[in-house]
């Protein structure tokens, strides 16, 4: 199953750092997502774009994870050569990850 079926996501940017939230629709799925969508897996998933580390923060009260990806926006919003300099569309790519239920 794709992550998109059980969670939603939004991307934010600050300089060369992208953060992507991952929020489960149903709180019961939080543990599943927390267990499987690790920082290491996310770093691997974005390996072509993210040159720095990926840190994961957990916010159980919101049923959410927050992935902070450094050196992820081609040098930062002002000087990136990417078409999507802010990385707004990265959330859609995250939701394409597989999850086992």
């Amino acid at each position: 199953m794709k992550l998109r079926e059980i969670a939603h996501s939004r991307t934010g940017d600050k300089g060369n750092i992208s953060n992507i939230s991952l929020i489960v629709y149903n709180m019961d799925d939080y543990e599943l997502v927390k267990e499987q969508i690790t920082a290491i897996k996310v770093k691997e998933w974005f390996q072509n774009a993210v040159k720095g580390e990926v840190i994961r923060y957990e916010i159980p009260s919101l049923g959410a994870l927050n992935f902070v990806m450094t050196n992820a926006l081609g040098g930062g919003v002002t000087r990136s050569l990417s078409l999507d300099r802010h990385g707004k569309s990265l959330s859609s790519f995250l939701l394409e990850m597989d999850i086992q239920t």
Binding site: S9, G12, N19, N48, Y57, I59, G74, F93
Partner: protein, 450 residues
């Protein structure tokens, strides 16, 4: 319990005005904030100010104020905005002129000053930049602006002085809301728990429709009603710091726990330590609850003592960026676009054009999500249209223009059927940041009255 209603009137510098007017007319709000200052907007505004000392504030300030001021006086709504950009003083004067022209009297306009430290930036040459870790003096490129992200105190002072319209330069976005909360509720400036809650309210309201269904819809998964007519958010903030987010029933969009959660985490790094000049806010224990249709209660933010530093954004002339595109269609569209991309790369090499970085994308295949070469062929086979995009960062404008020319030259020198060339070359102002002690900056407020 005392509460105030605050409207989010803009999500970015050029945002729509009608939804803001609508919540002012029908939303029973006490305040409206307009957050209109992206990271480098102020650097560009500083350049306008250099060319004309009366300019350098938000281009839409006058347009917005002409629509907003009559409602402010009729409904007793106060405006807090960072539309002053590089020139809050001239912005305040401009608002006064509009009030006079519209026959409005009894209006007090404040400009909050102190964020602009461009004249003393040389004192900080040895400070390390947060982006690169090197000394500020090692940055190549002419500095054109230096502004501190101020906190809420200047706004609070303006309101205490009787201001109806408060215009700032650079302040942190949540401070636009914390200022009114300090003033209305008498919260102490070192009551960090309350400031943490106020920061959350400001953080939620500063992005306009991103809280009410904008930047959210995903057909079939997250549908949003009448998104074309999305309404702007209204936050009811209670004296104890609880927040209810809502919107006007007659507008499009929606307020749900989903829209609110996405915005809570928007542009947040460590949720337990969101640092502003007002407070180190903690969003890690927040709970959200739907308490009615389009009504979500948000509670549980806290805060700790602030860092004692101001973040300074320095705008500097960095480089030029060229973007040039051409489209290929029909069977083999990707192969033709790839041939064109190879040609451009070889021509740049052959003609010895100098660049810092070059990027070749195939729009429709890999321009948003970077892929490996093998994935590219797999994803692109069967694409009926592919647009080659060549982007280059150069030190000299001339090199950027020449890279663009190589894409245009594909019309007559490239693969069959290439069309729709568009080229732009822009000077790029970038941002570097340093932290300086708060004691170095003095905020003050000036008033205009009609």
């Amino acid at each position: 319990m005392k509460k105030i209603r605050i409207g989010g009137g803009a999500g970015y510098s050029g945002d729509r005005i009608e939804p803001a007017v609508e919540i002012m007319k029908k939303g029973d709000i006490d305040y409206i904030i307009f957050e209109c200052l992206a990271e480098r907007t102020i650097a560009l505004a500083q350049q306008q100010k250099l060319a004309d000392p009366d300019k350098g504030f938000n281009d839409l300030l006058e347009y917005r104020m002409e629509k907003v001021l009559p409602i402010c006086t009729e409904k007793k709504i106060k405006v807090i905005t960072n539309m002053g950009a590089a020139n809050p003083v001239s912005a305040a004067r401009s608002v006064k002129d509009i009030a006079v022209r519209l026959g409005i009297t009894g209006l007090k306009i404040a400009a909050v000053l102190g964020d602009d430290i461009y004249s003393v930036i040389d004192d900080y040459r040895d400070f390390k930049t947060l982006e690169y870790g090197n000394n500020l003096s090692e940055l190549k490129g002419e500095f054109i602006s230096a502004n501190a992200y101020l906190g809420a105190e200047g706004i609070q002072e303006a309101l205490q002085g009787g201001a109806d319209i408060v215009i700032t330069g650079r302040v942190t976005d949540p401070s636009l809301v914390i200022g009114p909360l300090l003033y209305e509720f008498g919260w102490s400036i070192d009551d960090y728990n309350m400031l943490g809650k106020g920061t959350l309210a400001g953080h939620l309201l500063e992005c306009g429709a991103q809280l009410t269904g904008g930047y959210f819809a995903e057909p079939g998964y997250k549908d949003v009603p009448e998104l074309w007519n999305v309404g702007f958010p209204i936050g009811e903030v209670y004296e104890n710091g609880d927040i209810t987010i809502t919107k006007l029933a007659e507008t499009g969009g929606k307020v749900t726990t989903g829209t609110v959660k996405e915005q809570i985490l928007y542009e947040i790094h460590d949720p337990s330590n969101y640092m502003t000049p007002d407070v180190n806010a903690d969003f890690s224990q927040i709970t959200v609850k739907e308490i009615g249709h389009d009504r979500v209660l948000v509670t549980g933010a806290t805060g700790r003592e602030k860092s004692g530093y101001y973040k300074i954004s320095i705008g500097y002339k960095d480089c030029y960026i060229v973007e040039a595109e051409i489209s290929y269609g029909g069977p083999g569209a990707l192969e033709k676009a790839k041939l064109a991309g190879d040609i451009v790369e070889k021509r740049i090499q052959h003609t010895d054009l100098s660049f810092q970085e070059l990027k070749i994308d195939y729009i429709g295949v890999n321009s948003l999500f970077q892929t490996s070469a093998s994935d590219l062929s797999e994803k692109g086979s069967g694409c009926n249209e592919v647009r080659l995009r060549v982007a280059g960062r150069t030190t000299l404008k001339e090199d950027g223009i020449m890279i663009g020319n190589e894409v245009e030259a594909l019309y007559t020198n490239g693969p069959a059927g290439g069309g729709g060339v568009r080229i732009n070359v822009n000077e790029i102002v970038s941002i570097a940041s340093i932290l300086i002690p708060v004691e170095d900056i003095e905020t003050h407020v000036i008033f205009e009255e009609v």
